[in-house]
């Protein structure tokens, strides 16, 4: 038993494990990760490709060839920490707990990392101003406003979503500003400004000339008729154009953080809208209407681009532990070094 403990707490084992993780990590940055198996056979000789695919190296950081050594390192570290901590407590004079703080931080980091890896969930939603989405706790999140600003040279300078959250009719979050690097934390979730897009919307006018806006995929009733804006007509397609709002590829989407790219918006469309109108006492009709044409009681003004925000909701149960772990690691290294300096090393 003592022999086992000695081996488990050996510094040589720690160094071998660290060296293995080190070499594995380096190789994982050089060998493309997560490709389909067939791609590895195209890139590498057969033997290398087989090795990469069959050992799980194509997804190194989620594979057992990474996780098992990490768990072995975790055991070695935990055993060393306990052994060292007891030794320090028994020691007379000054106690040196800097390395203990650092090692406890590392242990928490492994636990938090695995928790985060297994429990991380995320989802995205595209919202235009006025749109709402239900949250898992029963709250309703609404986008009050969204702005996208650029520098003079065209690079993005800011994306800002103004968000309200209501629960049981009461406002729980009032006009919170969500922007890149300023997420909203609410009900155990973190909401990020993750993307933006320009959604096509159909502008119509009623008999009095008042403008009515229908977002793509939105259905509303005016008078006794229901209007559903399906999509702008594309010159290259005769049927449905685009995808439902909020779905990937629905419009000119951009990623905050990435350099600005040209945004095609709704330019290049024919200008006609595909919409379905359903009178109260009649059958639904699918129409293609150009600006100036009458559809039901309304007149088509044209297709406009409406800015929409992409909000990403993330649930990462391991992060608070990871945060504490990093603080302990930073504190532990600092305390260790200060102690060494005091000793005159």
């Amino acid at each position: 038993m003592n022999k086992f403990l000695d081996r488990l707490t050996s510094i040589r084992l720690a160094i071998w494990l660290i060296s293995y993780l080190l070499v594995g990590s380096i190789l994982a940055t050089l060998i493309p990760q997560g490709l389909p198996d067939v791609d590895y056979y195209e890139i590498y000789p057969k033997l290398v490709a087989q090795l990469v695919v069959q050992t799980g190296f194509k997804g190194f950081f989620g594979s057992i060839i990474f996780i098992i050594p990490v768990l072995a390192f975790f055991s070695n570290l935990a055993a060393c920490t306990v052994k060292r901590f007891i030794r320090e407590l028994k020691k007379r004079g000054t106690h040196h707990h800097g390395p203990d703080i650092l090692h406890i931080g590392l242990i928490l980091l492994v636990v938090g990392g695995l928790w985060s890896y297994s429990g991380h969930q995320e989802g995205s939603v595209t919202l235009a101003p006025g749109d709402s989405v239900n949250l898992p706790d029963g709250s309703v999140m609404s986008l009050v406003d969204f702005t996208f600003e650029r520098y003079e040279d065209g690079r993005p300078s800011d994306w800002t979503s103004i968000i309200d959250v209501k629960k049981d009719g009461k406002t729980t979050v009032d006009k919170a500003v969500v922007r890149v690097n300023k997420p909203l934390r609410y009900a155990g979730l973190t909401f990020y400004q993750s993307s933006f897009s320009e959604l096509p919307s159909l502008a119509l006018a009623d008999k009095d000339g008042r403008e009515v806006i229908l977002a793509q995929g939105e259905e509303r009733v005016f008078g006794s008729t229901s209007y559903f804006f399906m999509a702008p007509e594309s010159p290259t397609t005769s049927g449905m154009a685009g995808a439902p709002a909020g779905m990937p590829g629905s419009s000119a989407a951009g990623m905050p953080g990435a350099p600005a790219t040209a945004q095609p918006g709704v330019a290049g469309q024919s200008g006609r809208a595909i919409l379905r109108i359903t009178p109260a006492m009649g059958e639904a009709q699918t129409l293609r209407a150009a600006p100036g044409e009458q559809v039901g009681d309304l007149t088509v003004i044209g297709i406009k681009a409406q800015l929409a925000t992409g909000i990403q909701a993330v649930d990462d149960p391991g992060y608070p532990l990871v945060f504490v772990a990093f603080l302990l690691i930073a504190l532990g290294t600092a305390v260790t070094f200060i102690q060494k300096i005091k000793e005159g090393v």
Partner: protein
């Protein structure tokens, strides 16, 4: 030429003059500490700081968000570390260490001035507008500035056969890496992870830059364990120190140009 570029050029010239004086002094007086060059290094650091302040005012944010600014800050940190090394009394001073470190600061400034590195002072894109990013970058480079000293002392350790001098270089290497490790751990790992969580919703993505920062940290972790726990004072710790610095270079330059990822902007 803008005011910021002008003072950066003067700072570069001061670094070159420092290196020349160090070499002349080294040849004439051997290892005796020279009375001038640390003040020249301080002056260069002050000028580089002034350049960063001028750029920061111009872009309305801390000027530490692109490759040029990172290189200038790195050179500034090295100049300050060498100045601090000259001013302290605890460790033996060696002009060769100061010269080697100054040369690396000069190389960094030369890379910064190359036409391949854009020098425009541009306000950062939203993902880079974060105080955590500034802590992440500044602490990482301060740590790496100490690793530069650790590299030079390790090379001098490997180059000398005199036992007493080897012990001095070993102690210098250990001290430089010990201090650098504190800053690097906080900057590259802790602050970097906190920033990533705030910006992207993932505190770790196994992005090549992150992985290489971890590799660098692991190499220096091995160094500290080999040197501190195993108490090795032979060539092995010095070789690990050289390998660690090679990792910092690859993390900074190699990953940016060879392995694209989340950090491909800087």
């Amino acid at each position: 030429m803008s005011f910021a570029s002008f003072i950066a050029t003067v700072a570069f010239m001061l670094l070159v003059v420092t290196a020349i004086v160090q070499v002349v002094w080294l040849l004439k007086h051997g290892n005796k500490a020279d009375p001038y060059t640390h003040w020249l290094l301080l002056a260069a650091a002050v000028l580089l700081s002034a350049e960063m302040v001028a750029r920061s005012i111009e872009i309305g944010f801390f000027a530490l968000t692109n490759m040029y600014e990172s290189l200038a800050f790195y050179a500034l940190a090295i100049a300050l570390v060498v100045f601090g090394y000259r001013m302290q009394k605890r460790l033996a001073y060696n002009t060769g260490v100061a010269f080697g470190s100054t040369m690396i600061a000069i190389i960094l400034m030369m890379i910064a001035s190359s036409p391949l590195i854009p020098k425009d002072a541009l306000p950062p894109i939203p993902a880079l507008r974060s105080n955590w990013l500034i802590l992440h970058v500044s602490f990482t480079f301060i740590g790496e500035a100490f690793f530069v000293v650790g590299l030079i002392t390790a090379i001098l350790f490997l180059a000398t056969k005199d036992e007493k001098r080897r012990l001095d270089f070993d102690r210098l290497t250990y001290t430089a890496i010990g201090i650098g490790y504190v800053f690097f751990t906080a900057g590259a790992l802790a602050f970097g992870a906190i920033w990533a969580e705030q910006a992207w919703g993932r505190w770790w993505s196994w992005d090549p830059k992150e992985t290489w920062a971890l590799v660098t940290w692991l190499v220096y972790t091995v160094y500290l364990h080999v040197r501190l726990i195993m108490k090795r004072k032979d060539s092995l710790p010095a070789i690990i120190s050289v390998a660690g610095f090679a990792c910092t270079v690859f993390t900074f330059f190699g990953v940016n140009y060879l392995l694209p990822g989340l950090h491909s902007y800087g």
